[in-house]
Amino acid sequence: MDQIPFISATPALAILVSLAAVPLIVLSSKRPNLREFWTFAAGGIKLLLILSMAGWILAGNTHTYELWKILPGLSLKLKVDGFGMLFALVASALWIVTSVYSIGYMRDQKEHAQTRYFCFFAIALSATIGVAFAGNLLTLYLFYEMLSLSTYSLVTHHQDEEARGGGRKYLTYLLGTSIGLALPAMLITYNITGSLEFSSLGVFPEGVSKGMLILLLLMFVFGFSKAGLMPFHSWLPGAMVAPTPVSALLHAVAVVKVGVFSVLRIFTGIFGIDLLAAQDLNTIICIIASFTVIVSSCIALTQDNLKRRLAFSTIGQLAYIILGAGLASKLGVTGSMLHISMHAFGKITLFFCAGAIFVATGKKYISEMVGIGRRMPITMFAFFIGSLSIIGLPPTGGMISKLLMVRGAMEADMAWVLAVYLVSSFLNAAYFLPIVYKAFFCTEEESLFPQEYNEAPVCCWLPPVITATVSMILFFFPGLFLGFAQVMMSG
């Protein structure tokens, strides 16, 4: 066994570094520039710590670090593997970009309580990385709950009636399902197997009845309702009352991806994809996910509020990821892991653009955005790239992962899933491309923005440009993320 090229506590440090930033942020609340410096410092260190482990993981190794022996026979522990790295890398990289955007957005909007905002953002990121590196189900559950609670004050940042309603829905769904379904499922699993460790072979011994397996599967899939599977999806559009940077990072990347990440961990680590395929459980997953894919895309078509349309699009894309994993074929699961990163870059671009439009013009509704492309060409071009990635068209990364999932469907011999992918891609195109088309191509009379070129502040348009560019780069060089996913599936 080779010596690991980093200190063994690195995953724990990667989690703690943003928590450590919280007191510094609070102490420098009177000096905004110093305060934001701490966010970037923590973000940079976090990214570096995670990158320092990347080479070792890509070489096909894993790294386990025990945090704390909390119960007899069960400890809180971290395990870094390909899938965890992939997710941690995406989340920590996008945190930095989002922080740039947050500064532009929050200062331009003169939002109150910015110190609180940056604090809870840092805590939420700790929880996200904690989920990514969780070494067993108990650890994952702990960080999952920590994320639900720490994001509450971000979602309800405006502290008005609407925020209260959104926040109430947010917690009702997230806490309700995690306590009501995921927790007992975890305990029943522990009771049957005596183990909550993730193992690619699954933890269930022979002879567990199929009825029990189905019950547990459903409890887990719906219990981690951050994944947004219908009928536990409506917290996500409700949470769009949050300031846009929150929606961008948390509701396109961190929170929702933590949901699908947890579900995928359950599939690959607790059940094991072989068991899913052998017991035909994957068909159940595919049906639930397909239903969500199609229905949410149809609902997205009807939304006029841009952020709500993005939210329903997210619900659809999350179900995509679960559908890919539900195929229980190696290609499908690889594709769905990859889609976590591809969708992250695409969707965060779209949210950034929506926020930039709001900052520059105060518009929230799609019907008010006719001709906006002339006024904000950079933003709308980034929006276009982001849409392509979500639809799954070249030259964007979204295509690579969709292609893998489609091939997975063929490998698993489930032709009807192909049809779902096809129909939903059309629907994706139908709800995004008209926005872009109307933004650029309209007559002078139709245009609602007769004024000259006037972009949002640079802090608001630069981040979407960066993420859109990354989306395109990922089309040509998907290697890094693909490598992690493949390491995971072959290891």
Binding site: I70, L138, E145, D160, I179, L187, I188, N191
Partner: protein, 499 residues
């Protein structure tokens, strides 16, 4: 040898400080406070010492009062279970004593020395009930603590007199039931010593004897009244919520938990797991009753608009947790119940202290008192949050791990209704606390409805109240993190034979 005398010092320290307070502290409230703290510190350090002795030594510590050998004399028996409960009770009493400095001066301005004397009597009664190894001595101490608690509770606000009067009637009935039951046992066996009773009751004839059964029923009914187990919980919310802040901080966490301890003690140290679960076989019924207690307590808590009343109903629900855990009749359920005694003392203490601080600062008792709490009283709010999270059962607070064991135990015996009741209660608790968090976080709205832009002045409770509150909040997380240590060093040793 002072070390050999430490068990009795646990009881004597508060008792003597009570006597000293009556004699010397009539003029000065500061002297009274000082003597109170002195007594509580003495008691707590003796309890620490004894707990350490138990943890290091082999087997329980037996202390003979007046050196009369049992079964003729009274003895104190301190094993892992009672050592742990003594530690928690004396610790909570010390924290509350520190906390009481400001609240007592406001709420009970006259005759503070009488109040503090009653306080010490109550504490020594409770500690004695935990330490004693004699069923009749237990009755005496039960009455000491009950009588002093009536007097303490009556010095509250509003309907405190009426509520306490009800409690006196019901409490006395409970104590009489207990005494009747002890009478039956005494007639059949001729002894009052717990260990002695236990050997005598272990025969098949005794197991089949209807008199013993009636004795057991009387005893257990008496204890259920004392611990406010459904459907005997009616007296508790009124009596506790009308009490003054200090009184409720002291009584609410301790009285019910000590009663649960006594239930466990009598079930397994006087009677036996064999008798309870094989001869009587009430477990199915009892777990259902516990479920009802949990559901009724939680739902009633939801209906309250008064902070303290809400907490009181949570206490009722939590009693259901522990009773259910014990009657699951397996080691996980039992461990969960014992662990929950520990964590629940601290959870309830933390919440009552936080709510007490809010009432102290605002003078309001309704949920609306929590308006703007996060800005006005950030530390109190943080302690309240930790307590709330623990009641909901969010890791890594200790509330999560007690649920973990209770649910595991319930799954093992296949009693899924208990699992559902626990989860239901968690969800209701989540609603309860997030409703308060909403009030704290969202109101007051300013005119344009967008956030609290106006400056709210920080107006935190005094340090004497904050320190014990923060300690109790921190202990919730510490207990949670050290679950493995507590389980393998304490709880595991308390599991009775036959589970």
């Amino acid at each position: 040898m002072i070390a050999a005398q430490t068990p009795i010092l646990i009881l004597l320290a508060p008792l003597f400080s009570g006597i000293l307070i009556t004699i010397f502290a009539q003029k000065s409230k500061n002297v009274a406070f000082f003597l109170l703290i002195l007594g509580m510190v003495g008691s707590f350090s003796a309890a620490c010492n004894v707990l350490l002795q138990v943890l290091q030594g082999s087997g329980p510590i037996h202390y003979r009062l007046g050196d009369w050998p049992p079964p003729f004399g009274i003895e104190l028996v301190i094993d892992h279970l009672s050592g742990m409960v003594l530690f928690m009770v004396s610790g909570a009493a010390l924290l509350t004593a520190i906390y009481s400095k400001h609240t007592v001066e406001v709420e009970i301005p006259d005759r503070i020395h009488h109040y503090y004397t009653l306080y010490t009597l109550l504490v020594s009664g409770l500690l004695g009930m935990v330490a004693t190894g004699d069923v009749f001595n237990l009755y005496v101490l039960l009455e000491i603590s009950a009588l002093s608690s009536y007097a303490l509770l009556a010095r509250g606000r509003g309907l405190a007199y009426i509520a306490t009067f009800k409690y006196i009637i019901i409490g006395t009935i409970g104590a009489s039931f207990y005494l009747l039951g002890v009478g039956y046992l005494y007639i059949k066996t001729g002894t009052l010593n717990m260990a002695d009773l236990s050997t005598m009751l272990a025969t098949p004839e005794m197991h089949q004897s209807p008199s013993i059964k009636i004795g057991f029923i009387f005893i257990i009914l008496g204890i259920w009244i004392k611990m406010a187990f459904f459907p005997l919980q009616g007296w508790l919310p009124n009596a506790y919520s009308c009490a003054s802040t200090t009184t409720s901080c002291l009584i609410a966490p301790l009285m019910t938990k000590v009663s649960v301890y006594i239930m466990i003690r009598l079930m397994f140290s006087v009677f036996s797991a064999d008798y309870i679960f094989k001869t009587l076989q009430w477990q199915q019924f009892m777990v259902w009753m516990a479920c009802i207690a949990i559901v009724v307590g939680s739902v009633s808590a939801l209906a309250q608009r008064n902070l303290k009343r809400m907490l009181c109903y949570i206490v009722v629900a939590e009693v259901g947790y522990m009773v259910g855990g014990v009657w699951l009749a397996n080691s996980n359920g039992f461990s969960g119940a014992v662990y929950h005694i520990m964590s629940d003392v601290m959870m309830t203490l933390c919440l009552f202290m936080a709510v007490g601080a809010v009432i102290y600062k605002t003078g309001e008792t309704s949920l609306e008192a929590m308006r703007g709490i996060f800005r006005r009283m950030p530390i109190t709010a943080a302690a309240f949050l930790v307590g709330g999270f623990s009641i909901i059962g969010i890791p890594p607070t200790c509330g999560f791990f007690s649920k973990w064991y209770l649910i595991t135990g319930a799954i093992e015996t296949g009693q899924f209704h208990f699992v559902i009741a626990l989860l239901f209660s968690s969800l209701i608790n989540a609603i309860l606390f997030f409703r308060i968090i909403e009030i704290g976080f969202f109101s007051p709205f300013d005119e344009n409805g967008h956030g609290t832009h106006q400056v709210i002045v920080v107006n935190e409770a005094p340090a004497m109240m904050l320190v014990p509150m923060v300690i109790s909040a921190a202990s919730l997380i510490i207990i949670g993190l050290y679950t493995r240590f507590l389980m393998s060093n304490i709880v595991q040793w308390t599991i009775p034979v036959g589970l």
